[in-house]
Structure formats: structure tokens, C-alpha cells
Symmetry: C2
Subunit: 551 residues, 2 copies
Amino acid sequence: MKSTANLLTPTPSAYTYPLLIKQLLVNAMSLHGDQEISYRGQMRYQYRDFQRRIGQLANALTRLDVGAGSTVAVMDWDSHRYLESYFGIPMMGATLFTVNVRLSPAQILYTLQDADTDVLLVHTDFLPIIAQIRDQLPRIRHIVVLSDDGQVPAAGMDVAGEYEALVTQAPAGYDFPELDENTKAVTFYTTGTTGDPKGVCYSHRHIVMHAMATALSLCSPGGTQRLHRADVYMPITPMFHVLGWGLPYIAIMLGLKTVLPGRYLPEVLLKLRETEKVTFSHCVPTILQMLLLGADKTGQDLSGWKLVIGGSALPPSLCEAALAKGMDVFAGYGMSETGPVVSLALTPASGAPATREEDLRLRCSTGQPSLMVDFRVVDEDMRDVPRDGLTRGEIVLRSPSLTPLYAKKPQASEELWRGGYLHTQDLAVMHPNGVVQIVDRLKDVIKTGGEWVSSIEVEGLITQIPGVQEAAVIGVPDDKWGERPMAFVVAATAVSAALVREQLLVHVQAKRLSAYAVPELARICLVAEIPKTSVGKINKKLLREAAPATV
Amino acid sequence: MKSTANLLTPTPSAYTYPLLIKQLLVNAMSLHGDQEISYRGQMRYQYRDFQRRIGQLANALTRLDVGAGSTVAVMDWDSHRYLESYFGIPMMGATLFTVNVRLSPAQILYTLQDADTDVLLVHTDFLPIIAQIRDQLPRIRHIVVLSDDGQVPAAGMDVAGEYEALVTQAPAGYDFPELDENTKAVTFYTTGTTGDPKGVCYSHRHIVMHAMATALSLCSPGGTQRLHRADVYMPITPMFHVLGWGLPYIAIMLGLKTVLPGRYLPEVLLKLRETEKVTFSHCVPTILQMLLLGADKTGQDLSGWKLVIGGSALPPSLCEAALAKGMDVFAGYGMSETGPVVSLALTPASGAPATREEDLRLRCSTGQPSLMVDFRVVDEDMRDVPRDGLTRGEIVLRSPSLTPLYAKKPQASEELWRGGYLHTQDLAVMHPNGVVQIVDRLKDVIKTGGEWVSSIEVEGLITQIPGVQEAAVIGVPDDKWGERPMAFVVAATAVSAALVREQLLVHVQAKRLSAYAVPELARICLVAEIPKTSVGKINKKLLREAAPATV
């Protein structure tokens, strides 16, 4: 129960400042009007143009009957159009739905229906998908085509026009309304391993508080791993994926030059970094791997590029390779449901790490909880586990930026929030200094002969073997032990299953790994590729389904 | 009218995170438990002790019948006790009243009565004042004595005990309640030039948002003028004065080593800087002057000390002297009513100033509006003045951290907030790049022969004259011109009124000043001292009252 004694009652004329996305623009536009936004280096304009275009976008959408409470879906690669949608659509009081374009047409259909989409903004690349499912989307009143060359291909369906033409023809002034800060601003879907995709929702307040707290966590370090106002920002996490981790809002709020790279092609990204002088980005480990390979080919130096890694754990070997290229790389942690950033693997203020090994360990850790995030690691009775770096528990969270529900899924919502904390289903340990390390997903942890094995730990040790590019470890049923670990390894030809096992046994000898964590030879499979989810994570669900046939 | 369409309704178990002062501690305590808090270098403890003591303070106050809605007044110099009060008292749901100890006993009495004070925490230095007025404060149930040596002098009145004894004897655990974020957290009084002191009020939300936005503004610069996690913080703006500008909350939130210097004695401050390795402070120009004089005497170098100057304009000559000592000095702007910080004289991200003169001008400017602050300069019809660096208008504000009213003063509250913006009564110009420069207080501007003269401008030019320490310019009635400027100058013996006039006429020649802005010889008075208000600002009200007799 909240106490309501002693509440302040503003004088009638006072402005009770709601936390709205439009407030992020107030000073950005006043102080940085001539700052640049570049789309692939082929189109560029200034913040003052951006501000005008947001008004034009709102007027164009108004003509398409969009208003407070409407849902506008966007299917695009990272573009100035997406950035305009991030602001203009929620600022109207409408909901921006960022569609995951990597889902199957059936899943895209499901999410467009479930989100009650009224208007769809769709890049020409995805028109064929929409044409397939258009007749099952009767609620969608208008489709706007996003085209890089201004051409609208024959789509076999009615379209309201092309984005650039609609925006530039619309009047500029738009009086964005005063909204309640708890107005729904954004929705998107998280594809769990079971059931239908679930709709995550964020209000204006959630987004503003995430921008403030994450920006402050990133800007306040003393030395390395620091974002600042002279940085040039380029997202390499798709803007349809958890709001590009919220960084586009931060970049505009701070007045940074912002580069939107379109579809992610490693050579384009590397070229943009050089020509646009990009200094701050974020991506998944797989993309970092591609960037490093690309830079190896051209001999490009990547000094001065700060890179936050999320989506999956940052393997120490990959971190080391990036540091060797001059990058300032470190991990971040969060989920679709959590804003998303809730921790960052920042070096403690107390000083630089003593050794290179310690530096790597810190940069690859789950990190320090961000400001305002009540970040707990708890046992099954919701008691904090000891801060000993050993005892495992589930990460549960409170912060001003967590999704307050799954849309239309009351039971899943209550399950997510049971006991008043958001349950991440990530298993972690907490070190004495408050630094967190995830050891596994609750559902990925392997129980063998009554003992727990961390799939992530074994994966990490396998990827350290020279020649190994990637590894995935799952639990498979075993009559004697209940479960046993099974490893899938992508590697150069010199690497054999026997070598992998031999190397893991070295860690057992050195007491860095339990003997029961080492898979049997028959359960170490060298494969050409490891299946991924739509957002680039290892698809363990698929591996588990395929596993019995493999052995 | 706010639209309430499209509001998000959290699932029942979700935690709807209110913005509370206690949330600022969540990560500070988890990540920086061994960080230090030092009181004058003579007592020191760690953040984890601070956390325990806040609980003990709450339990000690509970025993004195303090609860939600109570008002607890504090009269102290800057101390660990004050820092504990900043958190512990509002976290209980009570209101912290920071008493301005520099007011007269009559004004202190007025404010203690007006604030409905229930319990008073008072330093031994101020016991004689309270003894004088105790019988007129029947509402105050308990008086707690704050004593540096643990001794309680005979006060001629009942006291509940000594702070340190009460706190250390109280149990540690205290379950701070879940409050509504609009709960009143702090109150204090602003002494205008007319009428009774007015009570400014801030809620938990105001304080949290001020801490976040101000910290982000201070942490995000690329080069100089930057706060970061490795800084050591020492306030030199009294903690009773506008929450020490809010910086103590920021320091704890970010986990900084914090040094509390007690009563401000220049030699103690300089010594603490050296022994505690202080790197970030803030003060009024007068204190900076004293610090520079003190350092001159000992030959102390002040390199690496970042210093924000507020309270009055930073004179370029003083700024230059501080830079010469190695300090990274710059101005900030705000008022009791505004959170307080609403702008900071940060170097634009676009790069370092081209010349030393430009650097000085930027560091001494009113600065760039802080994040989230809707900072306008408007004419009498509330239209924005052109951003030309020339056209004057009043600064009006909206931000998440402004006082929503003056307590018990509905008319003054409505006047403050007329038209939905907080009126500062400061006259300023806005430059094309969004940087603001205050030219005068609305009520201090001088109207002579139909033309406006900025008292601040003339003061600035006079203080540039070698040998001049301080200057104040006011308008005095004049039969012919309506008003004429009159200058009061504190200077070395070599400086005469004729010299001051001669030097001002040089600026007229160079077209830097209008001829009518130069006071007549008889209106340039060399004085031993310029009267100050309780917070160290020039008391122009007193000068105006004294002026007719002077000429």
C-alpha cells in the first residue's frame, strides 16, 4: 500500500511536466539544429529538418486517419524514416509497432493482427510478404510504401503512396498533444520458445526513463567504455529489435550525429564507419565477428570504435579479437521485456583492471546494474543469494522501464511479474562487488546426475579452442543421468570432436570445469552451421528437436 | 487538456516504479558499498555505513513521533548528518526542511512556524538562536542537538538528545515505505526582495528527475567541464541552500567519494581539497575569490579541480584567474524555484573554443539549457524573442523539477506560474546556437532617458579594471532621465572614481557600451564593502535604500 499523506498539490497554472518522448527533443533541436542525420551516406539532413519532417509525418498520417490510439506498424531497415517514426508516431498519441521483419510471413501476419494495426509503413523489400497476407488484414486501412529510390513497385494491392512523397507534400507545423505519460508509445513482439509471440508494450514514461538512466550509465564512466556528446552514433542492432536497444532515443536527446546504415551489410557498415567517422555502435556477437572478418580482409583499423555487445554473451575470444583491432568493446544485458538495457559491463570506477585477463572478464560479464534498476539474484523463495560469485539464482528486476504486461495475455503477464518482480528466467551469480554474471537461461541449464551444468560455461570454453568459430551446448535426455550435455561446434577442419573433448578435459584437470560437464565423444557434433532465431540468437529449441536424430 | 486515450494498464502484480529518493540508493549501495564519505577529514565511513545509519536515523526519528507528513527541520553546516537527513527524512514520507541559518532570528522563527515544523535538528552553533525563540515554537515537539564532539551544551531548554548518540543507539533495519512519487520531500524558503520568505517545495519525483537530468548534462560533455564516476565531490554551496544545488543527490547516486567540509573556512576547504583529493565542487563567485586568495598565499596549485559557479554571474576576470590556477571553472544557472539547475555553461560539443576570449565568454555565460528543460526567452506576450544575441526577453521555464507552488501563498504561486510557465524575472538574450546570456534581473534593469541599461553589464566592465575587487550598479531616481546608473566599487587605494569613469568611457569609445550607461562621477562610490544577502548575493535592495543618502 502506498501512503498518500503529504502529497504536493500544484498551483492551478503550474505545468506538471509529463515524461513524454517529445520532451527528449526540446534541447536537441534548440542546441543542435545543425547536427547531421545520415542515411547510408546517400541522404543527409540536419536536426532542424528532422524536426520539420516529424511534423510533416504527423500531418501525412493524420490524412490517413491516424490519431490518438491508432496503431501504425513499420517494416523497414534502419533508416531516417524509422527514426522519424520513433518520434512522430508516439508523439501523436498513436502506437508505433516495430515489426520484426525476420519472422515468417505467418508470424508477421499474427503480430500485425494481434497489434490491431491500422496503418502499415512497409519497405519495398517486404511488399511481397504483405501482398501474400493482405487479404487477412482487413483492419489495415492504409499501406504506405517506403522506397529508397522513390519508385513504388507494382504490389498487387492498393497503397496510399510513397513515404517520402507523402511526408514532403504534407504541411510542416503539427501541434503534438499533451499526453498522459502512461500512454502506450510502442509495441513489438517477443518470440519465446513456446507459444505465440507475445506483445511487449512501453509507455512514453518508460522510454524517457530508459533513455535517461541508460544514457547516464553510459556517459558517467571516467575512462573507457564511455558515450559522450562528441560521439557519432550508428546502430547495428535493428531498429525493429527492442527499439534498437533504446540508443536512437539517447543519440537524439544528446544531439549526436546519427548514421542509419539501412540493411546490415558488413562492407557497408565498415565503409560508413570510415566515411561518417562513427565512434559508437552496438550489435550482437555474430555481427561483430563479421565486422572483424571484413576488417581483416581490408586491413582496416577499428580504433576508437566503442561497441556494446548484446543479444548473447560476448565470448572472451571475440572480445580479445575486437580489442586487438582497437575497438572499445563491452557487453550489455537486457531483454525485450526490460526496456531493454538493465546492466552494462563497465569497468568499476575504482580503477583499470590489473590484468588483461581481468579486463576481458569484466568486459564480457553481464555487468553492473544500470542506474535506478533494482537488480536482484534470488533463490526460489525470492531471497537474495549470497554475493559470493558462486551461488546461482534467477535475475529478477524492478526499474522505471520494464514492460507492465504482455498485451492480451493476462496469464503470461502475471507469470512474468509474479511476486512484484519481473522474472527474467536468466540464472546468474553476483560477485561481492555487485557485478553480475549470467551462467545460463533457466530452461537451458543442464541437470546431469543431480548436478547443474551451465551450457554457457561449456560453450565459452569450447570457443576458446583455436579454430572454433561457434559452439552451442544443450541438454539431451539420458536414461542413466537424466540429462547429458551435447555440443554443436562450428570449426575449421583441423578441429575434431576428440580434440574438443581433450581440451575440455584440460579444464577439468585444472579444476575450472566439472568432469560431468564434458560431453561424451558421440555428443560432440561438428556442424557447418548453428541455427539462429530471427534476432540472431542460437536457436536451442531447434537444436533440441534435432538432437535425438543426431546422436 | 490531456488525451487519456491509449493508456497502458499494468498487470496487477507489476511494480509501477515510482520515482523516489530511495531509488537513487539502489545501485549506489550495491556497487559502491566501500566508497567513502568524509566529514572534514576527521570522521569517515563507507556507503554501507551510510545506508545503515539512514535506517538508524529513521528509527531514531520514529521514536520522536516523526512519521509520514511530519516536518523535520535541520540547522547544520555541511556534514554527514545533513547528507543522512537528505535521504532518511524524505524516505520516511516526512518533509525535510533545510533552514537557512544565515537569516535573522526573526526570519528563522517565521520560517520554522510557516513550515509547520514538528522536530528540529540543530547544530550547537545555532542553539543560542533557538533558545531565544523556543517559546514561540510550541508545535516543535523535540529538539535534537547536532554536536561535533558529542557534548550537549546547556541550552536553557529541553532537548531529546544528541544526534550521534540517538542514531547509533537506534536499530538499523527500517522498511522505508512505498510513497507516491508526488509526496512532498523537501521544503525551504526563498527570501525575495519584498514580503515574507516564501516556501518552495519539491516532491520525490522533482528531486529524482533533477538528479538524473543534471547528472546527464554534467556527465555527457566530451572533454572538459565533465563530471564522472572517478571524481571526488565536495559541496561548497551550503546544503541548506537549494539542496546544495542538488549535487549531493547526484554524488551518491553515481557512487562518488563525498567530502563534507562543515562550516566553510577557506583554509579548511583548500586543505580538504588536497588531503581528500577533491576534483568536483560548486560555489558562489565570492567563495571562489577567497579560495584563489588562499591558494595565492600558500602557492597552492588547483589543477584538476572542476568548479561550477552559481548564485551570481561569474565575472570573466575571476574566471580567468581560476583558469590560471588550473581550475576547470564554468557557470551554472538556476533559482530556488527551479530545481535549481536549469542551464550550464558547457563548451558546445562541436569543439573547443577558437580563442581564449571565446572560451571565457562561454564559461561565464548562462549556458546551455539542461536536458528536459524547456527554456524560453520571451517578450511580454510570451512570444519567443529572436535568437539573435541582442533581443532581450524574460526567461520562462518548464521542466520536471520546478517548484509547483509557494506553500500557503496561492497568489504568489499563480503569479510565478502565469501562463503555464515559471517566470524567473531574469532578462536574457538567446544566441543563434541556443546559448543563453542573462543581461539583468527584471527589477534591476535601469531605464534612463527611455533606454535600458543592464546593471550586470556595467558591473562586469568595472570589475575588469585592475585593482577592482567587486562592483554593484543600481538605478537611482533622476528628475531629468527618470533613472540613472549608480556604481558602488570595492577597490585598492589606487583606484579612484575618476579612473573608473575614464575606463568605462574607453568602452564607450570602442562602441562596447552606450554613453548613457556610464554613471556620473558623483554616482561612482568607492566603498569598503558591498552588502550581501544571506546567500551571498549583492543586496541591491539595501543599496537602493541607502543610495539617496550616499549621493
